[in-house]
Each structure stands twice: as C-alpha cells, then as structure tokens.
Symmetry: C2
Subunit: 235 residues, 2 copies
Amino acid sequence: MNSRRTSPPQAGKSPAAGTSPWRARRRDRELKREAVIHAAARAFNRKGYHNTSLDDIATALEVTKPTVYYYVTNKEHLLFQCFLAGIAPIRAAFREVKDQQAPARERLAAVLRHYGEAVASEFGWCMVRAEDQDLSPAMSRHIKALKSEIDQGIRRLLREGVQDGSIEPCDPKMTAFALAGALNWIAHWYREDRSLTPGEIAAAFVTIFEGGLRPRSASQAATRAPLRRRVRIAR
Amino acid sequence: MNSRRTSPPQAGKSPAAGTSPWRARRRDRELKREAVIHAAARAFNRKGYHNTSLDDIATALEVTKPTVYYYVTNKEHLLFQCFLAGIAPIRAAFREVKDQQAPARERLAAVLRHYGEAVASEFGWCMVRAEDQDLSPAMSRHIKALKSEIDQGIRRLLREGVQDGSIEPCDPKMTAFALAGALNWIAHWYREDRSLTPGEIAAAFVTIFEGGLRPRSASQAATRAPLRRRVRIAR
DNA sequence: TAGAATATCTACTCATGAGTATGATCGAGG
DNA sequence: CCTCGATCATACTCATGAGTAGATATTCTA
C-alpha cells in the first residue's frame, strides 16, 4: 500500500503478518482487500465495532482512511465481509459432513467442533456479533438468512439424530439455541483467557453437550431423588 | 417527571408507585430514577447501547435530555445501573440456594433457571452485553468482578456436584462457560421469538444441560457402542 | 517517454450525539 | 405573597468519526 514511503514501512508492526505483505503483493488488489478485512476483524475483535474507527483500521495497516475506502465501500460492508469470513468454515463443515454415513450425533459433533473453532478465530467476534441493530435493513436480512441457515442445519442434524437413535429425544429448536449459544459465547471470553486452544475448547464443549451433567454411571443415587440429602462419593 | 405538563403525566407509567409519589420527595426521586434506568434498559435492549442516544431515552420518557442527566451522571453509569438491575436476581438466586440441603445439581439447576429468566428479562441484554470495551477502566473492572463472582458461583456448584456425586465429573471452568454462554445467548434471540416464556426456556435449557445429547435409555445402538454398554439408571 | 490506469494521501464536509450553561417553573415554608 | 430549592426545558458547545473531493505519486502500456 504505502509503496512510496521512504522509511521502511511496517517492519516491526503487524507482528502476526510474518513478512511484509505490501511489498510482495503490491499489485494484488484482492490480497490487499483481504488484508483490510483481516485488520478490521482484528480491530473489531479487540475493541468492538462501534469503538473502532476506520482511521484505526487504516493506522493498523499503516495507511490512511481513503485507502481503506479504496478497497471496501463502507464500514458496514467491511463488517459484512468479516462476517462472511467467519461463517465460511462452518458452512464448509456442514458440506463436509453432508454425505457421511456416521450417526447424526457424530456428524453434529464434527460440525460443532468446527463451529467452536470458527468462533474462537479472529473472525469469530464479527460472525457472532454482527447485529441487525448496526446494519441497514438489507444487510440485516442477508445476515439473518445466513445465520438461520446454520441454525436450521443444526436442527436438522438433531432431528436426524433423534431419528437414528444417536440423540436423546429433544426439542430441536431449543437445543440448537443452547448449543449455538454456548459456542457463540466463546467469542466473549476467548480474548483474555487463552489457556486452551480453540480445538481443545470445542472438543471440551462437545463432550459436555453429549454427556450432560447428570451422571451416567449408575454409581449412586443423588441424581434423581428430590429430597435427598448430601451423599458421599462412592468411589 | 413532567409534573407541570397539562396532560395527565404518568398515569400508567411507573405503575408500582402505589400511593401518591409526590408526597415524599426522596422516594419520588428514587422512583423516577428507576424509571429512567428501566427506559434505558428497554432502549438498549431494542437498539443496542451505541445506537441509543440519551435523547432517545428522554423522548421515551416524554422528557428532555437534561432531565435524564438530572437523575444519572452519564451514559456509562446508566448502563452500569441496568447491569446491576440485571444481575440482581441471579445473585439473589445464589443466596437463596446457599444453605439448602439438596444435591448440588439441583441447587445449580435452580440458579440456572433464575439466570435464564434474568437474561430473558428486559435487563438481560444490559447484563449480558455490558462490555469492557464500552466502559471506562474503573467501571470495566467493577463489572468484570461482578461477572466473575457469578462465574465462580457456578463453578463452585459444579465442584460440589462432582463431590456429592450429583454431577458427572467435568472441568468446572469449561462447563461453567458452556452453561453461562448458552443462557447468555438467550438475550440475543429472545426478542423476535417469544413463543416460550422465560421460565419455560430456562427449564428447557436445564433439561438439556442435565440430560445431554447421548441417549440414556438403552434403547438402541447407534450411540457409543465401543467403550460403554448402556446401563439402566438405578433409581 | 507521454499518457493512462492504478493506488494513495491531504484536507476537507457534515451529521450525530454526549454533555452543559443558563434560565424558567413549581411546590413548600415563612 | 415571596423567596428558596428542587425540577425540567431551551439552546447551546465540542469532539468524534463516517465518508468524499481533489491532488499526487507510481506503474503499466503503447
């Protein structure tokens, strides 16, 4: 972008970038566009959509605002692009699982793992928090449709699981909300606390969803009897 | 509020007032303050914090902006008050359950039910979405501490449940994140879709959390064949 | 090597919204 | 009836940030 700067432009800045992208990709408009979107996602992720100005994004790229506008039409479209980047791996997971033969619970678990990883990614925040409130009606409809598609995909897998016996009978709608909600929320706390990798988190969540809180090993009795008093572990 | 307006002022507004609020100044002021906070919560809930101006809130109360500022110091404090109102019932639930004798899983379920209802309330959005990003450092610390308190409360109940055998052994931290996340997310969708009451939603979620997706009745085989044979619950 | 694209910057406009200075109005006490 | 404090409105200030106009530099092409 700043190909005519005299001082060595971004050495040291944008640490995750590895090598300076602007030199190698000088002429590649699409790559630059993606860099803009990626920088926006990082900024939105860190400070939130409303607390991020396009000047911030431009500064992060060591560029000025009009340059950003040269690659994206406006802030809303920028958020939308981040959203698309965020849901892409989830949609891919659905496709990947589409014609597998495994029981639906396992296919669902695979999707949820990808889902969790996507939410924990740098685009996760944008995916999860692209609010209708912040968007024009048209864009809002668009995003809502894409979100609904994912929701329906989860519900379908749940229904199939109940059918094939791999999932306990349940209300698909509420269950899908619960699963997606738990995973979406990762985007809110996987900023401070990075003690686990996205993959580990996703796996842990799937385990929790599948197992449930109530013990399965019929080892003791505290589980069902309503008026029971505390019981020592029988272990 | 608009006590000198000619039209009947707040008949229908601030319904809980009961007796003539104009007698005791002190009490009256407090009621109006609460009305401001409630109106703010409604507005934030509907349009989001950043898309709500204090003029909006004032208009909703049929008042002007300086009047709002007469009751709250600034927008941030207003959000904070909404937050406090949102978490109050949750903290109450923890207290209520504190010295019960029921197994921890049941106490946790009770807390989660109140949690879910709180999130679905009008203050739910403010509770869930009071972001550090939008707040001054001091306020951010304050809110974070209060959220953490709730988180730790859930973890403690989980640990106790594992101890007393009413909860399957699990990672309390991840499990607490999953539970709280699923419930928090209610605030995002319980706007359009009100087909269930908050109580029903909370109950449904607790059922899902407790049971898990994997079937418990040993009815069929698609589930887990390898390491586990199905066991009847010894009730 | 002169244009023609392409890419980027400087320097704006303009709307919005938080927060305030100041004055008007009302009820109550003297 | 008159003043005082509490309450509320009018009419501002001021900062911020989205988006743009127009100039400038760089590279490509003929």
